[in-house]
């Protein structure tokens, strides 16, 4: 955690900030959803409370705080209250492993009479070498929130909703894991930093001895288009968003597994769901859109550009980090808008069609993608192409 008190404190504050950022993104995302859906459906969204309706979520949160707190009669109290918290923890854990930006290098400085050495602060809660597998592990824990909610409500419709939701999540987790294997084959590592670094610059090939450079950025989506599509579909199903909305099934199972929840407990469920959406968007950006990188431009070039402007190396490093953080947030925002856009445009799947899609379409496609990628790399090696 750091060799002295200063670094440890800064790292702990960083952990706290990233967690709070995930919590604070929920009001913003709900506002985007409500205004965006209104825009798509040709009506006004919330526009009374505050400018452009931005204070609407604050008002909603205050309202939730003052609601009566009850639990259904026959519910198992401990599990009923445990479920919203169990829905929040996996999203927080998964978000901790995603690299948000380039590391900040702090040069030695003087403060309070002693010199604090050079530090490097990574822009992520922690850096785990098996990044992808860890994020998949954290996502697979999301099933518990649903199951405990359905059981704790002691309502057989909630239980049915929870079972269907968990079966759906498990089926699409398989396709998610398989689609990622193709990307790992191309980039050759489980570590996020290696994958992001491998996506810098232009796409280039060695073709029969000469080097060809194409105008496309070296992004994963051009190497693995099929895997990108499978990933997008699987991640929609993982976060229980429309068109895979059956667990929440407004109009069918009333509200599925969170029928008996109201007030702040419901808000905690939505924090978990939007947290999963943010993690999914971040993963898509890292695998297929080059992470926090600028297309066509190396990280080194941008770092030197900013070092040329600011004389103090710490300030230059901080500005570079903020620049890349903004880029990453733009990519995440675009993908979240895609989530919302699809939600209000497509009808919901029937349950058997949904499971058929997961097992009989996506899984064979993902396996085919792996075999195809491995075969192409094998043949390319034999014809001495070299990519």
């Amino acid at each position: 955690m750091g060799q002295d008190g200063f670094e440890t404190t800064i790292n702990l504050i960083k952990l706290l900030l990233i967690f709070l950022a995930m919590i604070q993104a929920v009001p913003v995302l709900v506002w985007v959803e409500r205004r965006g859906s209104a825009f798509i459906q040709d009506r006004f969204g919330p526009n009374r409370v505050g400018p452009l309706g931005l204070m609407q979520l604050l008002a909603d949160a205050v309202k939730f705080i003052f609601k009566e707190e009850f639990s259904p009669n026959k519910s198992v109290r401990a599990i009923y209250y445990m479920a919203p918290v169990a829905a929040l923890v996996p999203a927080a854990l998964a978000l901790g492993a995603l690299p948000l930006s380039t590391p900040i290098h702090v040069a030695p400085f003087e403060w309070l009479g002693r010199s604090w050495g050079p530090y490097t602060f990574e822009m992520q809660s922690f850096d785990i070498p098996v990044g992808i597998v860890y994020v998949l592990a954290a996502s697979s824990l999301g099933v518990y929130g649903l199951l405990l909610a359905g059981w704790g409500s002691s309502n057989k419709y909630s239980l049915m909703g929870a079972l269907r939701a968990s079966a759906q999540m498990m089926s699409y987790e398989l396709s998610l894991g398989l689609s990622v294997v193709g990307t790992i084959l191309v980039f050759g590592s489980l570590d996020f930093h290696t994958i992001i670094k491998a996506q810098e610059g232009f796409m280039h090939f060695h073709l029969f001895g000469s080097e060809i450079q194409i105008f496309l950025p070296n992004w994963g989506i051009f190497y693995q288009p099929l895997a990108a599509i499978i990933f997008v579909v699987a991640v929609f199903a993982e976060s229980n968003r429309l068109p895979f909305d059956l667990p929440e099934a407004e109009g069918e199972l009333v509200a599925g597994f969170h029928t008996e929840y109201g007030g702040f407990k419901l808000l905690l469920f939505f924090m978990g769901e939007y947290g999963h959406m943010i993690v999914a968007s971040g993963l898509f950006s890292i695998f297929y859109l080059g992470g926090y990188g600028l297309p066509w431009v190396d990280t080194i070039t941008v770092t030197e550009f900013f070092s040329g402007i600011f004389s103090h190396s710490t300030t230059a490093s901080i500005v570079t980090s903020i620049f890349y953080l903004v880029l990453f947030l733009i990519k995440i925002a675009l993908f979240i808008w895609l989530f919302m856009w699809v939600r209000w445009s497509l009808p919901r799947f029937k349950y058997d069609r949904l499971m058929d899609l997961g097992w009989k379409t996506l899984m064979p496609l993902a396996l085919f993608n792996i075999i195809l990628t491995a075969s192409i790399m094998f043949l390319a090696h034999f014809i001495h192409w070299g990519v």
Binding site: F70, V89, N155, M160, L163, G188, L190, A374
Partner: protein, 122 residues
């Protein structure tokens, strides 16, 4: 080891945050007035019977078991995928063919599951 400390801190932080929020809300809100009707389980507004012995199809169990099995297969694909690129230079045929054998058995398993009707009307 640093990740482990961070993971434990985040878990504790998230759990405490959720628990503290729920505790705070339960204290701030109005006092709970328990009434018979309000505490019933929600069944679209009707007073339904609560016989909890609903029969659930065995398909859900089968999906869970198949999920475990295919998850284990996927876990074995990850180490292979990491060293594939490196081992292409040393022993290409070997590494390609051994995974093709593994995937052939896996694909046969999926084919069997499909054909035997376990995925029907799931």
């Amino acid at each position: 080891m640093v990740p482990l400390i961070a993971i434990m801190v985040i878990t504790v932080l998230a759990t405490l945050f959720g628990a503290a929020l729920l505790f705070f809300v339960s204290k701030v809100g109005p006092k709970v007035k328990i009434s018979e009707i309000k505490s019933l389980s929600y069944e679209c507004g009707l007073v339904g019977e609560e016989k909890k012995s609903t029969k659930v199809s065995v398909k859900f169990y089968l999906v869970a078991i198949l999920f475990i099995l295919f998850d284990i297969e996927i876990i074995f694909l990850y180490p292979w995928a990491i060293i594939y690129n490196d081992m292409l230079t040393t022993n290409a045929v070997f590494i390609f063919s051994e995974m093709m054998v593994f995937m052939a058995v896996l694909l046969f398993g999926l084919f069997y599951v499909w054909r035997s009707g376990a995925l029907r009307w799931d």
